[in-house]
């Protein structure tokens, strides 16, 4: 196992060492201690590494991740796993705003709560949140699935495209063009699989599904008040 101690090593040294693995893989297991809430930890990783961060991370932890499995044993700041392409990012604590923003693929698991704009503009990632999420989550979300085992804040799914949202608890309000939809068998299967991958023992039947009514896909005068 390769060990980095951010009390003495720099973020630059850590990221460079991780990037170098994409050229010549020499070590799959990585452990990062004393992260101290530092920003931009393990960003741009492009190899199937297993990375444990032992503590809290700042902004953009695991940003643009490809292939790697990153576990944060703490909380994370803004934009965890932003623009992730593949791999798995698991946050054992809670996440700040914009978790999984614009992410194209992979799985983001937040075992605690996530702040505002969780899954904003997501483009194919799967996000599973064990707790609750803040307002404006899934704003302009395009593809992928968001699962929330707790509650959702205001304006969930505003201006949504094709992302599917599953919420177990209450939704404070739905955003423009987001509606509750029928939970069919294929959705229960999909949700079951997502919960299983995320490691949550929840009953899929206790969730509701939300998606786009697709009324704002093209500009229409009659919809002007929706914007």
């Amino acid at each position: 196992m390769n060990k980095f101690d951010l009390a003495t090593d720099s973020v630059r040294e850590l990221n460079q060492a991780l990037h170098d693995q994409a050229k010549e893989l020499t070590e799959r297991e990585w452990h990062v201690s004393n992260p101290g809430g530092k920003h931009n930890l393990v960003v741009g990783v492009n190899e199937a590494l297993s990375i444990d961060i032992d503590g809290h991370a700042g902004y953009y932890c695991a940003g643009m991740n490809q292939k790697a499995t990153v576990t944060v044993h703490g909380n994370v700041g803004v934009g965890v796993a932003e623009n992730m392409m593949s791999g798995v990012v698991r946050v054992k604590g809670s996440a700040s705003q914009a978790a999984g923003a614009t992410a194209h693929g992979g799985l983001l698991v937040i075992e605690g709560d996530a702040g505002a704009r969780c899954g904003i503009s997501m483009k194919g990632v799967d996000i599973v949140v064990g707790g609750s999420i803040g307002h404006m989550s899934c704003f302009m979300a395009q593809a992928g699935r968001l699962v929330v085992c707790g509650d959702a804040g205001d304006a969930l799914g505003d201006s949504l495209y094709e992302t599917r949202i599953y919420v177990k608890g209450t939704v404070k309000s739905l955003g423009s063009d987001c509606i509750e939809k029928e939970m069919r068998a294929e959705h229960l299967d999909e949700l079951k699989e997502l919960l299983h991958r995320a490691g949550f023992n929840e009953d899929p039947a206790s969730f509701k599904r939300y998606g786009s009514s697709r009324q704002l896909y093209n500009f229409k005068v009659d919809n002007a008040s929706a914007y």
Binding site: N15, Q16, V43, M64, N83, T102, K123, S159, N218
Partner: protein
């Protein structure tokens, strides 16, 4: 024959024919007008400035004998691999989606021949564009359509877009007729939607966050690539200072004359400030932070001639960018298209419905029959010719001012023709020592 004079119809200055037509159109449709291009109103511009050639107090360089350098290095502040361009005229960001793949390829070809860079746009990087662009700047936009780390690593520089001159504070749009299967696939959108682009970045707000975002991109790309920050001109003094503080290598400042693929007419005409008014506060901000020439300044918005290039650089820019002019060089609005343009309600020289995908030039369209009309090799050659002319013209004027490099032009080489231009450009009114706002 009557002795009565023929009545003269008096047009209202307030309710002129265009205004009346717009009120009628709005009443008919209930929705704002959307078009492409930049502002059409007359604004204080580089035409309102003159360069002072050499005479007794300065001596010129020989026009065809003595060297006048044109190269520029961008990204010297932090990037391990700054960009070295042969000419200080770059191609501004324009998306595949707004433009056809052929047009993007032609831009890459023309820019590469001339020794300059081209820039992606909203919607990601196409192989045609990367393949033909010797130096490619990859835009990082609020929508992040098509954004991925592989392309980030392939880029020669990264431009974080905060806004553009045609619509500072506004997001983008791409109407459904241009959201074809390929465009939709690159942007992860349903085919045919009227695509909206966010006006704010999804994962950062404000300059302190931007500093962390820039650091993230540097970390992902191992600090190799220059990071540009593009600003739509509105409050350039503060925006430039904050961008420098956030860690930008290069500032791109786009005035309101800059074009857009599709935006509300009212936005294009009424938001932002002219590039002439934006450059001096930007340069002041750079100078006050001791960053002029260390953080490079690229300006855009209405650059048409070598005179514009020379004047912009004399005002303190390190380089300029062109968008609309580059499309015209490729073949946009060409007189040979007049008949076809009339069939869609326009005419050569007036066509601005770049949003609707019916461009007979094959440039602002995703219609395969139309886009096939544009030969990327031939169009690229035209763009390269035009770029050469811009540089030759700028060199001609720089030599006349006694300058051995375009970067040696300075504000003392300029005077203004109007009080407004003098005040905005902060140069004297011609024939006087008076710079409005700076006392007598």
């Amino acid at each position: 024959m009557s002795d009565k004079p023929t009545p003269v119809l008096r047009e209202s200055a307030t309710f002129d024919r265009l205004t009346i037509q717009e009120i009628q159109r709005a009443a008919e449709t209930g929705i704002y007008d959307i078009r492409g291009g930049g502002t059409k109103r007359k604004l204080p511009h580089f035409d309102d400035l003159l360069l002072l050639g050499a005479s007794m107090s300065r001596y010129p360089l020989e026009g065809y004998r003595e060297k006048c350098g044109t190269d520029v290095v961008l990204g010297t502040r932090f990037a391990k691999k700054p960009i070295h361009l042969k000419i200080p005229v770059t191609i501004a960001g324009m998306s595949f989606g707004a433009l056809s793949a052929q047009a993007k390829e032609a831009l890459g070809r023309g820019a590469s021949i001339a020794g300059t860079s081209t820039t992606t746009g909203d919607g990601g990087m196409t192989p045609e564009e990367r393949g033909q662009s010797q130096t490619l700047v990859y835009q990082y936009l609020p929508s992040r359509y098509g954004m991925n780390p592989d392309d980030l690593r392939k880029a020669d520089a990264i431009e974080i877009v905060l806004g553009q001159g045609a619509k500072p504070g506004g997001g983008g749009m791409l109407l459904g007729m241009k959201v074809t299967e390929r465009v939709a696939g690159m942007r992860t959108l349903p085919i045919g939607v009227d695509q909206r682009s966010a006006c704010r970045h999804p994962d950062w707000t404000g300059p302190d966050d931007l500093a962390i975002k820039i650091a993230e991109i540097r970390e992902i790309t191992d600090w190799e690539k220059p990071i540009y920050v593009k600003i739509g001109a509105s409050r350039p003094y503060y925006d430039v200072k904050l961008a420098i503080k956030a860690g930008a290598d290069v500032i791109v400042l786009d005035g309101m004359q800059g074009g857009t693929a599709a935006t509300q007419e009212v936005f294009i005409e009424h938001v932002g400030i002219p590039i002439l008014a934006a450059i001096p506060p930007a340069v002041q901000a750079l100078q006050e932070m001791d960053m002029h020439r260390k953080v490079q300044l690229i300006v855009s918005g209405g650059i048409r001639t070598g005179a514009d290039v020379a004047k912009a650089m004399a005002m303190g820019a390190d380089a300029v960018a062109i968008g609309t002019a580059a499309l015209i060089a490729l073949g946009d609005n060409h007189p040979r298209l007049d008949e076809e343009l009339k069939k869609i309600g326009s005419a050569a020289g007036y066509y601005d419905d770049w949003q609707n995908g019916q461009d007979p030039a094959g440039i602002t369209t995703q219609n395969p029959e139309l886009s096939r009309r544009l030969d990327p090799v031939e169009a690229g050659r035209r763009l390269a010719n035009y770029l050469r002319v811009l540089v030759l013209e700028a060199q001609t004027m720089a030599r006349a001012c006694g300058k051995s490099h375009l970067h040696n032009l300075d504000p003392e080489d300029l005077v203004a023709l109007t009080v407004e231009a003098a005040a905005m450009a902060r140069v004297p009114l011609a024939g006087t020592n008076w710079v409005p706002g700076q006392g007598f």
